[in-house]
């Protein structure tokens, strides 16, 4: 969903909820006026004859309010669900990428430790120099590979920044809606996040399908070059 359509939906939600608020205001009893049946005098026939009409009006207003709330809820769901679903996927990916990277790093460390043991074992053998050289080379590659695995940190940072931006967006929408009902309570409220902080992230950052994505980049650069 584009930012423009989300903002239009939010405007519609606000309009619906303002209508609901007005309807509630209209239905509230005026000061000094008693419409409660228990407060009416037994002989107040006029009031009693008006009661069915009043109840019917109350019923109609409540139905109308519920309908508008249903519409508002639908609009909010429509605008929020796509972003939340994407955020959920990204958070799941963060979790699996973190675990995969940790596993790869532990595997690499296991192999490196085994190579150190092997270096110890061959130290006294006649061909220790040549075998040691080859083993140290393999160990350097292994240790360097561990460093490369740490790229997951940059990707998960962007995925978390995206999740954070969605939460901030939801917070702002909720505050806007809540302020329709009680503007004073939310007028002074600050945001959870520092919106002035520079944030730059790729909402589609991913650890997966890197071969396919690289192939697409290569093909486009080959065509354009």
């Amino acid at each position: 969903m584009t930012a423009r359509s989300a903002s239009e939906l939010l405007y519609d939600s606000e309009a619906s909820l303002r209508l609901v608020d007005n309807a509630i205001g209209e239905f509230a009893p005026e000061e000094g006026r008693h419409e409660d049946a228990a407060d009416m005098q037994f002989g107040d026939i006029d009031s009693l004859t008006k009661l069915p009409h009043t109840l019917f009006r109350a019923y109609s207003e409540i139905r109308s309010i519920l309908e508008r709330l249903r519409v508002s809820r639908g609009i909010l769901e429509q605008s929020a669900m796509d972003k939340l679903a994407h955020m959920h996927d990204k958070l799941k990916e963060v979790s699996s990428a973190t675990e995969l990277a940790a596993t790869d790093i532990l595997d690499g460390l296991d192999r490196s430790v085994a190579m150190v043991d092997e270096l110890d074992a061959i130290a006294e053998t006649p061909d220790s120099a040549s075998r040691g050289l080859e083993l140290r080379g393999r160990m350097r590659d292994e240790l360097f590979g561990l460093m490369v695995h740490l790229q997951f940190q940059d990707i998960t940072t962007q995925q978390l920044a995206y999740a954070s931006s969605v939460i901030l967006d939801m917070e702002q929408r909720l505050v806007q809606l809540a302020s329709i009902f009680d503007p004073k309570a939310f007028a002074m409220g600050g945001s959870l996040a520092d919106s002035s902080a520079p944030v730059s992230f790729d909402p589609d950052a991913s650890n997966s399908d890197s071969t396919d994505r690289q192939a697409l980049a290569d093909s486009l650069f080959t065509v354009k070059r």
Binding site: M147, V148, Q151, D154, I155, P198, S200, D202, S210, F221
Partner: protein
């Protein structure tokens, strides 16, 4: 050959610089965003490796700014980024980026792309 490595992630800069050293390139200058990179850029820089998503000035804006400078028109630019949408890649081509690597990358891929860019640059200069 002297490299300018631009990325807001310290971890990524370290991985790229270490990868460069491992494939034989030891002269590097680092910058945390496009603005800082423009300040560091001078005629001694022979190759630029930049990320896309950075605060203050993105990698794509940095590439455009560099191509607008008389001393930055010819320098090879390699973008190392997570952005893999078709329109992003095409935008990078239009901005004057010479080649493109998707994160996570491996050092052999980095080496291959640097060599490709250098070969094309040498062919163009000849």
């Amino acid at each position: 050959m002297k490299f300018l490595v631009v990325d807001d992630s310290v971890t990524m800069r370290r991985i790229i610089v270490n990868s460069l050293q491992r494939i034989g390139y030891t002269q590097t200058v680092e910058a945390g965003d496009g603005e800082e990179a423009l300040c560091h850029f001078n005629s001694s820089i022979q190759f630029v490796i930049t990320d896309w998503n950075m605060p203050n000035m993105s990698g794509i804006d940095f590439a455009r700014a560099l191509r607008a400078r008389p001393d930055g028109k010819q320098v090879p630019i390699l973008m190392v980024t997570t952005r893999s949408m078709r329109e992003d890649i095409l935008a990078a081509v239009e901005a004057g980026v010479n080649n493109y690597i998707l994160k996570p990358f491996t050092p052999p891929t980095l080496k291959e792309k640097i060599e490709q860019v250098m070969t094309v640059a040498a062919g163009a200069a000849a």
